[in-house]
Amino acid sequence: MSGIPPFERFYESHKGEVLAFLRRRAGRDRADDLFQETFLRALHAYGRLEHGEHLRAWVLTIATNAVVDAGRRERPTAELSVEPADEDQRPAVEELAPLTDDLPPKERAAVVLRYGYDLDYDTIGAALGSNEQAARQAASAGVRRLRKEKEQR
């Protein structure tokens, strides 16, 4: 047994929460398109999952990503230069992702959600199915582990 539930069960378990999350992050109008985008991306990656843990954090990470991408698509480059903060967010994620590949899943999710997506620990706790304190601990454990790996290189 792979431990990966049939997609139907994954979708049914998380669709309500994903829609609520997208409505909060992107507004009701844009949430519908992003909902479909999120679950199509999840479906695309689902066959390559190696285990069925932290699927909630995983799909909320995908949803966050979809929001960020939609934001970039909607803003012409000219406008982006007026809002450099948004431009900065992306490289952080792209730099982080390969670095964190070897971290345990929970720590990886916490590090990426915190430093890649700038989510607060409360939201990350919710995404990981735990709480603010556990999210804080997972993120700092992940960072410690990354530092150690960097020293060893």
């Binding site: 049939p6 139907e8 309500g16 479909q36 199509l40």
Partner: protein, 188 residues
């Protein structure tokens, strides 16, 4: 918990079916003359017909056999549904569907292919089928193959009866076997 509007839910399921990324698209047909049926298709063709489905267990089985991307996507079953509807009112005597038997063991597949030649309204026996696949003493094994038929109705295991003409058994229950044979005019 936020309720996902039906329109949005159906829209995603349709898009997922169209994406070509599902391992199995399935639907549950609630109101056929033989009761509730779960039907599933893969990219290769029809891969499941199931009586009295317990969706949880059945979805796990489909995921193990075909891959985890198993989703209820009614749109992908339009053709299967239409052919079954025609069959159930007696307007279709043969199914024109691609079949996916890749999860079925070799011997089973040979027997099922032979079974597929038994025509509408006709019956055969376990022993005769066994002889046709070159294993004349394997009538019991043929019974097991019928019992595990992943595509009942479409692969017509209801057309296989005992040597003395009795209905013997049916994975979906004898009532259904009798109903199907009456529909086809094989029983009076």
């Amino acid at each position: 918990m936020t309720a996902v509007p039906t329109v949005l839910d159906e829209r995603f399921r349709t898009a997922a079916a169209a994406s070509g990324e599902l391992d199995v698209a399935y639907d549950v047909l609630d109101d056929t003359p033989v009761g509730r049926l779960l039907v599933g298709v893969s990219e290769l063709g029809l891969c499941r017909v199931n009586f009295d489905p317990e969706p949880e267990a059945e979805l796990e089985r489909l995921a193990r056999q075909f891959g985890p991307r198993v989703l209820r996507a009614p749109k992908a079953l339009d053709r299967v549904r239409a052919e079954l509807d025609e069959y159930f009112v007696g307007r279709r005597h043969a199914f024109d569907l691609e079949l996916d038997l890749r999860a079925t063991p070799e011997f089973h597949r040979r027997v099922l292919e032979e079974l597929n030649r038994v025509e509408y309204g006709h019956t055969t026996t376990y022993g005769a089928l066994a002889a046709q696949v070159g294993a004349p003493r394997a009538a019991r094994a043929v019974g097991t193959v019928m019992n595990r038929n992943p595509l009942p109705i479409v692969l017509p295991c209801h057309r296989v009866v005992g040597a003395n003409g009795s209905l013997t058994g049916y994975g979906g229950g004898l009532d259904r076997k009798e109903w199907l044979l009456r529909l086809e005019g094989a029983l009076l």
